[in-house]
C-alpha cells in the first residue's frame, strides 16, 4: 500500500519537475551560455531581442575619445540620468579617461549576456565598445524611492524614529550604521525566478549558530517561487510549519529591532522592495515584546509586558469567557452581577454565543473597513461604528450592554500586541474558542488552551523550540521573558539560539 503510494507520489513529483524545467528553460536557455561578441551592432541587437524591444530601453550611441563607436544601454526611469550624462558620457567623450576607468562607483566587466540583461533590469547601465569583448557594467541605479520615515506599524514612544523603506541598500545601511561590528556578515542572494528579487541575509559571525544560518540559506536557495513581492512570500515558504496559525518568523519595520535580534544570535533577512525585514529564528515572546522595553527603565518595561500578556489573553478569551459564564456557569458570577446581566439580556432573543458572534463579526467588519477607507473619510467609520455597534444595537435589543463592553475591551486588547502578524493570529483564534465555549463552557475553553499549547510546543523555528525559554526551561532566557531584568543582571545572552559568544556584558570593575 505504502509502496504504491510512494511510487505514485514520486511519479507525480518527477512529472512536475519536468514541466517546471521545461518552463524555466524556455525563457532562459537562449541567454544562459551566450556571450557577447566584438561586434557592437550585433550585441545591441541581442539585447534588444532579449528584452523584446521594450520601449523604455534606451540605447545611446556615441564615440569615445579614442575614436571607437560605443553604446550605453539602460532602462529609462531606472537610472540616474545625471550620473550617466555627467560621469560616463562626458568623461568618455571629452577627457582622456579611458572607458575602463569611467567615473562611477561600481564597475564590473562581463561577457555573459545573462548578466548584462540582469544588470540592465536592475537599473545598471551597460557600456559596450566596438572591438571590445567585454561589456562594462556601471552602477547607475536611481529610481524613485521613498525616504526613511517613521514606521507605521510599530510605533514607540521612546526610541529611534527611522524605519526601513523599500530600497534594499538603504535598509542595509540602516542596519550597518547601528552595528559597526566587523563580524556582521551580509550574504546577497537572488530569489524569485521572474522578479529576481535581491535579498540580504544578515548575521553576526561568532554569534549566530552556523547550522541555523546554513539552514536558512539552504531553504532560501531551495525557494522555487516565481515572484517575491514582499517578505511575506519568503516567510510563508521557509517557515517550519506552513499550516500553523502562528508566525514562526518575525517581521519588523524597525532597524533597531533587527540589530537587537542580530545581537542575540539571530539572522535577519532584508528583502528588496518592502520595508518589512524578517528575523529568524523567532519564538513566542515576539507576541508581547517591543523594542521599547529595552529603552525604558526595567520596572515599567516589565509591568508593560505583563499588561500586554493580559491584553493578549483578553483578546483571545474574553468573549468566550462571557459565553461560558453566562450560558454554563452563572453560579460563578457574583449574584448582583448575575442579576444585572440577566436584566440586560432580558430583551436579547439570541443565546449568548450568537450574540457574541454577531458583535465580534461587526467589529471585524468595522476594522477591515477602516483599514481600506481613504484617509479623509476615515473618522466616519468611527462615528458610524460607535453609534451603530454601541448604542443602537443595545437599544434595539439585539445585544446586551455588557456584550458591548466585552467587545470593546477585546478589540482594544488585540491592539496592544506590538507585532501585527502575531496579533492577527490571536484575532483569528478567538472564533474557534468561542464556538468551543458555546459547546462546553469553561471545559471547552480549557480544551482549546491545551490544544494550542500542544501545538505551540510542537512548533520549531529553525530548530529552536517555539516556546523556549519556557519549555525547554532556560533560566538565562527567563530573565528576559516576562520580566525585563536590569541590564547589569543580563550578563549572558539567552542560550536558546545557541549563541557562541555567550557574554553580553563584562562584569563591572568599579564596584565602589
Amino acid at each position: 500500500m505504502s509502496q504504491f503510494w510512494n511510487a505514485w507520489k514520486k511519479r507525480k513529483e518527477s512529472l512536475r519537475d519536468q514541466s517546471l524545467q521545461q518552463h524555466a528553460s524556455k525563457s532562459m536557455e537562449s541567454v544562459d551560455d551566450v556571450t557577447i561578441t566584438t561586434d557592437l551592432d550585433e550585441n545591441i541587437a541581442l539585447i534588444e531581442h532579449q528584452l523584446g524591444k521594450s520601449d523604455d530601453l534606451v540605447v545611446r550611441r556615441f564615440q569615445v575619445k579614442t575614436g571607437q563607436d560605443a553604446a550605453l544601454v539602460f532602462l529609462d526611469g531606472m537610472v540616474d540620468c545625471d550620473v550617466i550624462s555627467q560621469y560616463i558620457i562626458q568623461n568618455l567623450t571629452s577627457s582622456s579617461i579611458t572607458y575602463d576607468k569611467s567615473a562611477t562607483n561600481e564597475l564590473e566587466t562581463t561577457t555573459g549576456l545573462r548578466q548584462i540583461i540582469r544588470n540592465i533590469l536592475s537599473g545598471n547601465t551597460v557600456l559596450m565598445i566596438e572591438g571590445e569583448t567585454e561589456a562594462y557594467l556601471n552602477n547607475t541605479r536611481g529610481w524613485a524611492r521613498r525616504g526613511v520615515e517613521e514606521p507605521q506599524t510599530e510605533s514607540v514612544v521612546r526610541g529611534p524614529r527611522d524605519g526601513f523603506c523599500e530600497t534594499l541598500m538603504v535598509n542595509a545601511s540602516l542596519v550597518r550604521f547601528r552595528l559597526k561590528d566587523p563580524n556582521l556578515r551580509v550574504r546577497h542572494m537572488i530569489v524569485g525566478q521572474r522578479t529576481q528579487t535581491d535579498i540580504f541575509v544578515l548575521y553576526i559571525e561568532g554569534l549566530a549558530h552556523p547550522p541555523i544560518v546554513e539552514e536558512i540559506i539552504s531553504r532560501l536557495e531551495k525557494l522555487n517561487l516565481d515572484a517575491v513581492l514582499e517578505s511575506g512570500y519568503i516567510e510563508q515558504m521557509i517557515q517550519d510549519n506552513r499550516y500553523s496559525p502562528f508566525p514562526q518568523i518575525q517581521n519588523t519595520e524597525r532597524p533597531d529591532k533587527v540589530v537587537a535580534n542580530l545581537l542575540e544570535g539571530k539572522v535577519g533577512i532584508l528583502v528588496d522592495g518592502t520595508p518589512f525585514a524578517l528575523i529568524a529564528p523567532s519564538v513566542f515572546s515576539q507576541f508581547y515584546q517591543s523594542p521599547e522595553d529595552y529603552y525604558e527603565r526595567f520596572y515599567i518595561a516589565s509591568l508593560i509586558r505583563f499588561i500586554r500578556i493580559i491584553s493578549i489573553s483578553i483578546a483571545l478569551l474574553l468573549p468566550s469567557l462571557y459565553i461560558a459564564f453566562s450560558s454554563f456557569h452563572p453560579e460563578m458570577i457574583p449574584s448582583r452581577l448575575v442579576i444585572a446581566m440577566a436584566a440586560g439580556r432580558s430583551t436579547v432573543p439570541f443565546p449568548s454565543l450568537v450574540e457574541a458572534l454577531i458583535m465580534e463579526m461587526a467589529i471585524e467588519i468595522l476594522r477591515e473597513a477602516s483599514v481600506r477607507l481613504p484617509g479623509p473619510i476615515g473618522p466616519t467609520i468611527g462615528i458610524v461604528g460607535a453609534l451603530v455597534v454601541g448604542e443602537a444595537a443595545v437599544s434595539a435589543g439585539l445585544v446586551s450592554p455588557i456584550m458591548v463592553i466585552i467587545v470593546a475591551v477585546t478589540t482594544i486588547g488585540s491592539f496592544a500586541s506590538p507585532s501585527y502578524s502575531a496579533a492577527i493570529a490571536i484575532r483569528m483564534l478567538r472564533f474557534p474558542v468561542m464556538l468551543l465555549a458555546g459547546m462546553f463552557g469553561l471545559y471547552g475553553i480549557m480544551l482549546f488552551i491545551i490544544l494550542i499549547l500542544v501545538h505551540l510546543s510542537s512548533l520549531k523555528s529553525f530548530g529552536v523550540p517555539y516556546m523556549s525559554p519556557l519549555s525547554p526551561l532556560n533560566l538565562q532566557g527567563m530573565k528576559d521573558l516576562f520580566l525585563r531584568v536590569p541590564y547589569h543582571l543580563m550578563t549572558k545572552r539567552p542560550t536558546m539560539f545557541r549563541v557562541h559568544d555567550k557574554i553580553r556584558l563584562k562584569e563591572e570593575d568599579d564596584q565602589s
Binding site: 454554563f328 457574583p334 462546553f440 463552557g441 469553561l442 480544551l447 488552551i449 491545551i450 510542537s458 526551561l473
Partner: protein, 387 residues
C-alpha cells in the same frame, strides 16, 4: 549507534522535563478521591499515606532508573529482548519479553481509558449536567490523539509547559481550605495498629501509579541529566501535593465525613471562598483548570502506549498516527465498560493494585533475570569503556 529509533529526540529530555513528566502523570484523577481513600484505613492519620506510598513508589522508580542506566538510550521495548536472551538470539528474546511488554502496554491503555471515564463522570455530575458522558470522554481522547500526532520530544515540552497548570489548582485549593481547617481533626496522631498501617501504605502506593511511563521516556534523557534526582523530585513534588490535599480534607471535614463523599477534593473546592467574591463558586473553574492535569495523565499514558507499539513493530510516525486513531475505538469501549460509579471505583482500585504489581514487579523480575544470567551491573561498565 546500532539502536533504531524513531524521531530525532535522542538524549534531548532535560532533568526538569523528566521531573515534569513524572509529576504530571502522577497527579491526575486520583487526587479527586485521594482524601477518602487515604483515610479509609488510617483514619485521622491518613496524611501519612502519601508519604509511605512515596517510599514504595520511589523504590520502584529507582529500579526503573537503574534499568535504564544499564541499557542507556533504550526503552523497555528495546532492552526487553536483551534481558531475556542474548543479543545473538533476538527472536527468542522477543518472544520471551512479549508477555511483559503486552502487560505493560495494556496497563497503560486501560489507565488512559479509566482516567478519562472518571474525569468524564466528575464533569458530567458536577459541571456540565446536560452534556453526555460520551462527549466528554471523546473530547479527552481527541486531545490525547492530537498529542500522538507529534514526536516524542513534544510530549516532554507539553508536560513542561502544563506543569504550572497541574500544580496550581491543587495547591490553591489545599491552601485556601486551610481557612476553614479544624486542626484537632488530625488528632490523635497515631491510633491504628501497625498492620493496617502497612495495608494503608500498600493502598497508598496505588495513587502513585503513572511513573511507569519512564520505562520508555528515560531512554530519551540527556546524557548529563541525573535521572535519579529527576525521579526523586518528581515523586517528592507529588507527595507534597498529595499530603497537602489529604491534610486539607481531614482538617476541613474529618475522616468520618470524608468516607461519605464521592469526590472529597471537589467538596473541598465547594467550601472554598475567594476573598472579595470575584468568583462566587469555584468548582467549575477548578475542574476547568484541572483538565490540564487530567490531560497530562491520559495523554501521557496513551502516548506511551502508542509509542511502545510503534517501537515494538519498528515503525515510524505514520504508523503511530494511524494506530493512535484506530485504537481510540476500543479505548472508548473500555472507558464505558464499568456500568456505574461503584464499579468504576472497584476497577480503579484493581488497576491500582495491578499498577503496584507491575511497577515493582517488572523491574524486579528484569533485574533478577539479569543477575541470574550473570549480566548484572558489571557489563555496563565494560560497555561504557567501549565507548
Amino acid at each position: 549507534m546500532k539502536k533504531q529509533n524513531g524521531g530525532n529526540a535522542h538524549f534531548s529530555f532535560t532533568s526538569w522535563q523528566q521531573t515534569c513528566l513524572i509529576t504530571s502523570t502522577l497527579i491526575g484523577v486520583g487526587v479527586l478521591t485521594l482524601p477518602r481513600t487515604a483515610t479509609s484505613r488510617l483514619l485521622e492519620a491518613g496524611w501519612i499515606v502519601p508519604i509511605l506510598g512515596s517510599i514504595g513508589a520511589y523504590f520502584a522508580l529507582w529500579m526503573i532508573t537503574k534499568l535504564s542506566r544499564r541499557f542507556p538510550g533504550m526503552t523497555i521495548i528495546e532492552y526487553s529482548p536483551l534481558v531475556w536472551a542474548s543479543p545473538e538470539n533476538p527472536r527468542l528474546g522477543k518472544i520471551l519479553s512479549l508477555p511483559w511488554i503486552f502487560i505493560y502496554l495494556m496497563f497503560l491503555y486501560v489507565i488512559s481509558a479509566i482516567s478519562s471515564r472518571i474525569f468524564g463522570e466528575v464533569v458530567v455530575t458536577s459541571v456540565l449536567l446536560n452534556t453526555p458522558l460520551e462527549v466528554i470522554i471523546i473530547t479527552m481522547f481527541l486531545l490525547a490523539y492530537f498529542l500522538c500526532l507529534h514526536e516524542v520530544e513534544v510530549v516532554a515540552r507539553v508536560n513542561e509547559i502544563l506543569f504550572p497548570l497541574n500544580l496550581f489548582p491543587v495547591l490553591f485549593i489545599a491552601f485556601a481550605s486551610f481557612q476553614k481547617a479544624e486542626w484537632n481533626h488530625l488528632f490523635p496522631l497515631v491510633r491504628v495498629p501497625g498492620k493496617s498501617m502497612l495495608e494503608g501504605a500498600l493502598e497508598a502506593t496505588y495513587s502513585f501509579s503513572g511513573y511507569e511511563i519512564m520505562m520508555i521516556y528515560f531512554a530519551f534523557a540527556q546524557r548529563t541529566s541525573n535521572k535519579e534526582k529527576a525521579g526523586f523530585f518528581g515523586i517528592l513534588i507529588t507527595t507534597v501535593v498529595y499530603t497537602l490535599i489529604v491534610v486539607a480534607g481531614i482538617t476541613v471535614f474529618g475522616y468520618e465525613e470524608l468516607q461519605r463523599v464521592t469526590w472529597p477534593t471537589l467538596e473541598l473546592v465547594k467550601t472554598t471562598q475567594v476573598p472579595g467574591l470575584i468568583l462566587e463558586r469555584l468548582e467549575s473553574a477548578f475542574l476547568a483548570v484541572w483538565v490540564a492535569a487530567v490531560f497530562t495523565t491520559i495523554a501521557n499514558s496513551y502516548y506511551t502506549f502508542i509509542y511502545g507499539l510503534r517501537q515494538f513493530f519498528g515503525k515510524g510516525i505514520v504508523f503511530q498516527r494511524i494506530a493512535a486513531l484506530f485504537l481510540l475505538i476500543p479505548l472508548f469501549f473500555i472507558a464505558l465498560w464499568p456500568q456505574n460509579i461503584v464499579e468504576i471505583f472497584k476497577v480503579s482500585s484493581l488497576i491500582g493494585l495491578g499498577g503496584l504489581c507491575l511497577n515493582i514487579g517488572i523491574p524486579l523480575i528484569y533485574w533478577l533475570v539479569l543477575f541470574l544470567r550473570g549480566k548484572g551491573w558489571d557489563e555496563s561498565k565494560e560497555r561504557k569503556a567501549d565507548g
